[in-house]
Symmetry: C2
Subunit: 605 residues, 2 copies
């Protein structure tokens, strides 16, 4: 391996080879010599750009893709000053380098993987806009003026004035619909970027999105993966934060980060005026009707925002209770009751487990196969290199982990994932054997790439096991299979005729595409213009092709003008809120943002 | 200089010399050879111990002091495993080293300054108790149990149960009186150390201690100095946090750190039962009378807790308003009014400045000379090496800064301070000239050692200028001098006969010794047993000798059994709460804590 490299590179160190590549790349770019720059990429190669060149979140493939991107973006981007920010390393014939550079309007960071053939992967990401840097560290606000003058307002008075005015006498530039972790993280970014924004949420206070869920719910991702921007969790924060604790954190975060946030505020409708390029957003704020007129509208209503409630014959004649999993109040009221839970993914397992703990008689109806990974195993093998105490100790900061993760092109990500899940299968063989013996339909994803790819492709189809799978394996949670045919007064009847007595039916049947919210709040035409949100176009179940290269419509311009989607897990909310924030800031400041490769729409939902 | 060292040490590197010293020191200690160990200290030398050897906060001086300490503490401490934790450095003939070691019951860190004569300064500090390490990093709580079982309580249910029980059906081991930054920081430490504790505060909610103060108040110390334990401020936190912002932080900190905290709870009285070694603490909790029975009682009522209200003849005939500075509501109501502010320290200046900004006619009555430093200058020259963005960049973490600060013995600290203040006087010469011309009585402390020594010695006598001193220099705030003789119906009359018309008189006359609170809540006999709290015994104004070596009665055992004092600025609350926490934890767990050198009482208040 080393020999192959040396053949092409003499005795150059990884650092020298990267420097040479960067130098040649920059001189090709300076000369606007697109073929030469594109020729420096390997035949199988990927350039992922996060807003630095494309004002989009975009991956192009191979020299032809690179050439296409550069033809469009090079002169407006005007990149320069490429350099490494730490010493490049080499392993298995691949050199890895952290890089930095500037564009006409901003400062950017990136990551490069170099082989003998040229660049294999390149990540470029805009980090800040020149002249609009966030006030941090040495440039943090002073907090007090050292020159006294009559009429000076205190911090509290300034805050109170903003609260009185913003959305009332002064319009926000951005309205964010939804104040869960996504909306809050974006709100914090926009505050730091000094973009007037307002986050709207229909709950009583920040964090209630979590407080209202079933009582045993904890984050399924470990703490190292979950930090919000600016304010990391302390070292004593639990690995898997209980829902009420994360709720408290979100509430206090909203306050100390000074996120402009309206609680008890539901969006009733919204429409965009093409003439004035302004949204009209009708808001019900604690019973009062208010019109907001922002220039940009962000849906942060959540991956798990819009419940998929199935429609089975007999739902109207069933005399017991029926709930979507998102409305399940917790197990307390159901001791001794018969409960049928339709579904077998995360929520279904957690709800079944808590019901069993509280003495309910629980049946899980598995309609299709589910992928299960034990939480500890996932944490260790799946995330441990990037998000763990081990990673922290080896110098992988959260930002670095996010960038490493972002540097792996989605097109080949499954290849990196498959071996991890093979190791998980080995480690927990006994567990999977027991599950199988109990009749549980288990899968590892269509290509064996496991949980994270399922999340990216379809956002469903898995359970991160925090204990309930053992109850299924042990028969403590009864397992049935098949589709629901209909309900009677007191039972759920499956297609094979099996009849399940029930006092309560919980539909753990997941959530719809986020453009469903657009249809509800704007109109169907706009929802269709945007098309399906989320997924990669992997041509696997619930993620039809063609290949998109990036997650559909997330954190980037859509076919609907001035309409954006933000969300995902805490990691995504943290990292991608930066890029969405910068896109909004640039528009707010009137910086040109020519978008390359706007999302095509191939599916309506 | 180098030559002198080489003469004594051959060609040994600083690291080798430290290793040799530590090795010899440890072997003398292992052999219980006190004279040999004491002989390794220079004639003028200082050993400062924070709870590691002495179960006290204690500085001993010279070989004789070291011998005395070791005679008492060596065998119970049983120290071992001395080593450096990073490569020692040498400058100006002094080698500095960061060290670690163990004791019979704990792990400790320290700092050593070595000269040719031997140890010049040694700092030893207990960091954790073996078997009772705080759950952090890899050992952080999981947050979720991965084995389900009937009756399992959620985090929220556990927290609710604790709230129902603690102080009601289950007694806290520690009661902390006062829930400002001191009580909150200690409460957070005790929570992490799993010591059942309850913090009591009479305000409506955490942070109200700050919210209720005058509206222009900002922290006078910069952000790098002010972090609380566990959860540092984010990078965008203002340099000088406005009072309402720090209040919000304290409120959210209390919640996310799960500090057991009773708001609207005043201590009415307390008494200690020598038989049962238990306190009886009578609490008024929102109107309900409750008796708490802790084993340990901590006064965290604050340096600025108990107002010193002067008693001038005529205060009863004066028809305008009179307030202690701590009760001043802010300037809004006083536009166009005549205000006399008695005092010329921090509060006096801030209040005068805000009143002037709001159109009041303000006179400051300076009764004695005051030391003023411009905030930016203090930040740069006084704190910059340890607490600043510059320090952060050069690797001086908050913990390291705290330890470096702690490593300088109080006996010689003024020698390090004097040159800093000489530089400040030079830098701001114009400012001081203007002040002098305006007739302001200015001093630099009796020995020219400036603000921080005044703080440690007497906790008063200075103003960190955030703008008001310019108003005094410019005559916008009128300045009068001398003692108040009496008040009439409408005026304040000074001893020289000057008569000042006043609608409002603000007494910015400072605060009393914390044992005043003990007299109020327990009894005078206990207050006298404890004696004066705070100060070093420097034999300067308001800090009578004899020399104490450490701050009187703070964070360490007092002459009153099971009675403690905690407080100070945010830096002290952060750092010393660790040692107070460990002392309380050890007692809670029944670990022997033989105290060396218990505080003598030389002054009653």
């Amino acid at each position: 391996m080393t020999q192959t490299i040396d053949a092409g590179s003499g005795t150059a160190t990884p650092g020298e080879r990267v420097d040479r590549w960067l130098h040649e790349f920059e001189s090709a770019l300076s000369a606007r010599d697109v073929p030469r720059a594109a020729g420096m990429f390997a035949t199988d190669s990927f350039w992922r750009d996060l807003v630095a060149f494309t004002w989009n979140i975009k991956t192009v493939e191979g020299p032809a893709g690179v050439a296409d991107l550069l033809e469009s973006c090079l002169s407006s981007t005007d990149p320069s000053g490429f350099c490494t920010t730490e010493t490049p390393t080499e392993a298995g014939g691949v050199i890895e380098a952290w890089i930095a550079f500037e564009t006409a309007v901003g400062r950017a960071k990136g990551h490069l993987r170099l082989t003998d053939e040229g660049a294999w992967t390149l990540l470029t990401s805009l980090r800040e806009l020149k002249g609009f840097e966030e006030p941090q560290g040495e440039d943090r606000p002073r907090g007090v003026s050292h020159t006294l003058h009559p009429g000076r307002l205190s911090w509290k008075e300034e805050r109170e004035r903003e609260e009185r005015e913003l959305g009332v006498t002064r319009q926000p530039y951005v309205v964010v619909i939804g104040g869960g972790q996504g909306g809050i993280a974006l709100g914090a970014r926009l505050r730091q970027l000094q973009v007037p924004a307002l986050v709207l949420d229909n709950h009583d206070r920040p964090g209630d999105q979590w407080r209202g869920r079933y009582k045993s719910l904890c984050l399924h991702d470990p703490v190292w993966y979950d930090h919000l921007p600016y304010l990391p969790f302390p070292k004593n924060w639990p690995v898997f934060a209980p829902k009420d604790k994360i709720a408290d954190w979100l509430e206090m975060y909203t306050r100390v980060m000074e996120v402009p946030y309206w609680s008890r505020s539901s969006v009733v409708s919204a429409s965009f005026d093409q003439e004035t390029k302004t949204w009209s957003v009708q808001v019900d704020r604690a019973g009062e009707r208010i019109e907001l007129r922002p220039k940009q509208l962000v849906f942060a209503t959540g991956m798990s925002g819009k419940p998929n409630l199935p429609s089975f014959p007999g739902m109207d004649v069933f005399t017991g209770e029926q709930q979507h999993s998102s409305r399940h109040p917790g197990p307390e009221a159901y001791a001794g009751k018969k409960v049928v839970v339709v579904g077998s993914n995360n929520s279904a397992h957690d709800i079944c487990g808590a019901l069993w703990e509280n003495g309910a008689d629980v049946t899980m109806v598995q309609r299709s196969s589910t992928h299960i990974v034990k939480s500890a195993t996932l944490m260790d093998i799946g995330l441990g290199d990037l998000y763990s105490e081990r990673a922290v100790k080896s110098g992988v900061t959260t930002d670095k982990a996010d960038m490493i993760f972002a540097s792996l092109p989605y097109r080949i990500m499954h290849e990196f994932q498959i071996p991890l899940y093979q190791r998980m299968a080995e480690r927990d063989k006994d567990f999977y054997d027991r599950l199988e013996k109990a009749g549980f339909w288990h899968d590892w994803g269509e290509d064996g790439s496991g949980l994270f790819m399922k999340y990216l492709r379809r956002g469903s189809g898995y359970y991160i096991d925090v204990g309930a799978a053992d109850l299924v394996a042990d028969g403590k949670i009864r397992l049935e299979h098949g589709q629901v045919d209909h309900l009677t007064e007191h039972t759920v009847v499956l297609e094979d005729g099996t009849e399940l007595a029930a006092d309560l039916v919980v539909y753990a049947t997941g959530y719809g595409s986020m453009n469903g919210w657009v249809a509800d709040l704007i109109d169907q035409e706009t929802a269709d213009r945007v098309g399906k949100v989320w997924g990669l176009g992997s041509a696997t179940a619930k993620d039809p092709g063609p290949w998109e290269g990036e997650q559909r419509d997330m954190w980037k311009p859509t076919k609907a003008e001035a309409l954006w989607f933000h969300g995902g897990n805490l990691h995504q909310s943290r990292h991608y809120s930066l890029y969405l924030g910068l896109q909004l800031k640039a528009r707010y400041e009137g910086i040109p943002t020519p978008v390359y490769g706007l999302q095509e729409v191939h599916h309506l939902s």
